[in-house]
């Protein structure tokens, strides 16, 4: 096999085309959001909101929606959880990891409760499918939703970038310069929630939370200004998704896990280079 076919052969398959497009879109966007949430000490927000999304999906199933339609119940549910976390953080009584941990545990427990409350006649649901998704199983309509959401969220982040960056550096100084810090805090977490709900369904919880944390943490070691860190993070998220999928195809191993390990290898490399 030559180098060209290494890249072209997998992408001759429609399911791989959809997977790589979804992976790059979600990877790039989660990485961009990750730059802000990781810098704010909210590294676990991806994991927490992904588990909250499970609670929302379970609520949708309890209300009689199908697994695919339950996402539309999970969306407002997860956004509410994210606003709850933002509200608690604003009160300043709890650290970010504590607030995330509490909301994550409660919404996950609600999810389990909701699934148990479904009538016995309801169709059985494979919890693993809900929790872990599969990037290789992304359908055309799912892909369109992912791309539309990613485009809208990316636009919102780009438009508010300079104010978000200032508020992330120091909320008090940003507020004194006239930045609407409170509004931006709620917006950032709500947008993260929207992306995560859509992404969990397509790529799964583990991949979503690693897309939020690892590219941002890696880029932090490479860039000296926030916008360079963001550019590196997006490149790492997009590149990690594409390379991980290629490797998983050729090695015939789990795609999500390979993407995460690729991102992890990039982090290790940056760490090694930094120490020199």
């Amino acid at each position: 096999m030559n180098l060209l076919t290494f890249f072209t052969e997998p992408f001759a398959q429609p399911f791989m085309q959809r997977a790589v497009i979804a992976g790059m879109a979600v990877g790039g966007l989660c990485a961009m959001l990750g730059v802000f949430v990781v810098q704010r000490g909210l590294s676990f927000i991806g994991d927490g909101l992904a588990h909250a999304a499970f609670g929302g999906i379970a609520l949708g199933l309890l209300l009689g929606a199908s697994v695919s339609h339950a996402t539309w119940i999970a969306l407002p549910f997860t956004v509410l959880v994210s606003l709850g976390i933002a509200f608690v953080l604003r009160r300043g009584k709890l650290r970010g990891d504590v607030a995330t941990g509490v909301f994550f545990a409660v919404s996950f427990a609600l999810g389990v409760l909701f699934l148990g409350l479904r009538p016995v006649t309801a169709q059985p649901v494979n919890v693993e499918t809900v929790l872990f998704g599969s990037i290789l199983a992304v359908g055309s309509s799912d892909l369109l939703v992912v791309l539309a959401v990613c485009a809208l969220v990316a636009l919102a982040i780009i438009v508010t970038w300079t104010r978000l960056a200032y508020a992330t550096f120091d909320p008090e100084l940003a507020r004194l310069s006239g930045v609407k810090v409170e509004l931006l805090d709620y917006m950032l977490l709500a947008l993260t929630a929207v992306v995560i709900v859509v992404a969990v369904k397509t790529v799964g919880i583990a991949l979503v939370s690693s897309f939020v944390v690892i590219p941002a943490a890696t880029a932090r070691m490479l860039g000296r200004s926030l916008h360079r860190v963001a550019l590196f993070a997006v490149a790492i998220g997009v590149g990690g998704a594409a390379l991980g999928l290629l490797l998983s195809y050729h090695l015939n191993v789990a795609s999500g896990a390979t993407i995460i390990l690729t991102l992890g290898a990039g982090f290790g490399l940056a760490l090694a280079l930094r120490k020199r």
């Binding site: 970038w161 300079t162 978000l164 200032y166 310069s177 200004s225 360079r228």
Partner: protein, 280 residues
């Protein structure tokens, strides 16, 4: 008549028993004809139901360097937050150049305590200064903005720091950059909240040199919250001593030298000594 204020717990201030409060002691006050940059009028602030400041009134004329002193929990930082408009008084008011506090923030430069900002944020001194100039974080910096940042850094003796990442700066260098940030909009008043806390001895001396230059300026007024007697001796043109209420307002030697204010003088000296060495 004001009730005795409830305040947060504080460090022991003095071995001498505090004299009963008999109203504020006014010594030599600023000339009444001078233009007033800041006017605090009967400022009363409550936080979480606790009265932190009670009926505090004083004013600062143009160009005056004022040291705001008092024991821990006396309400010094709360007063600064009220000046910045972050905290609203339940009674009374603060005006800056005739405008209500919080509405004239370009006229006020603020240097925070070193511990209150993120030292790991990937940013350069230039970006930090330009962010205050624009009111948003810069993606690209124009030539004019760079020139203004350089000029204000030169004023605080830190021109070489312009492109340095904040994470690599020493404590003294960091505070110079934050002072430059505060001065970039040509404010009428600069507020410094214990700016040398946590800074090494050399950095602290160099920073005091810069503050002494600001003190010598007839244009820029300043409020310096400090526990550092050396800073008061070198920079203060006037001292306000508060402990929830205004205790005394006058010239530095009056507050430190008056026998009748020995408890205050002792408290101020005692406070300096009770802090870690790097705070002195």
């Amino acid at each position: 008549m004001n009730q005795s204020p409830e305040r947060e717990s504080r460090a022991p201030r003095s071995l001498a028993p505090a004299p009963p409060y008999a109203g504020p002691r006014h010594f030599t006050l600023p000339d009444d004809s001078m233009k007033r940059v800041l006017v605090a009028d009967k400022v009363t602030v409550e936080l979480s139901g606790k009265r932190i400041l009670d009926d505090v009134s004083f004013w600062i004329p143009k160009g005056e360097f004022l040291c705001l002193c008092g024991p821990n929990g006396a309400g010094k930082s709360t007063f600064l937050k009220t000046v910045l408009g972050i905290v609203q008084p339940v009674a009374g008011s603060i005006e800056i150049l005739g405008q209500p506090a919080g509405t004239a923030n370009k006229a006020v430069g603020y240097v925070p305590q070193r511990k209150t900002f993120d030292h790991d944020f990937p940013a350069t001194a230039l970006e930090l200064i330009v962010a205050n100039l624009r009111g948003s974080w810069p993606l690209r910096v124009t030539r004019d903005e760079r020139d203004r940042a350089r000029a204000v850094l030169r004023r605080v003796g830190g021109e070489k720091l312009v492109d340095k990442p904040l994470a690599g700066l020493s404590g003294g260098e960091t505070q110079r950059v934050f002072l430059a940030r505060a001065l970039v909009n040509d404010p009428a008043l600069v507020i410094l909240d214990e700016p040398t806390a946590g800074v090494d001895v050399r950095g602290r001396h160099e920073f005091l040199d810069i503050l002494a230059e600001i003190s010598a300026s007839d244009e820029l007024a300043a409020i310096l919250v400090t526990h550092n007697p050396a800073a008061i001796a070198r920079c203060a043109e006037r001292v306000v001593y508060i402990d929830g209420r205004l205790i005394a307002w006058g010239l530095p030697n009056e507050l430190l030298g008056q026998e009748s204010l020995s408890a205050i003088a002792f408290s101020m000296k005692d406070h300096g000594k009770s802090l870690p060495a790097d705070e002195d």
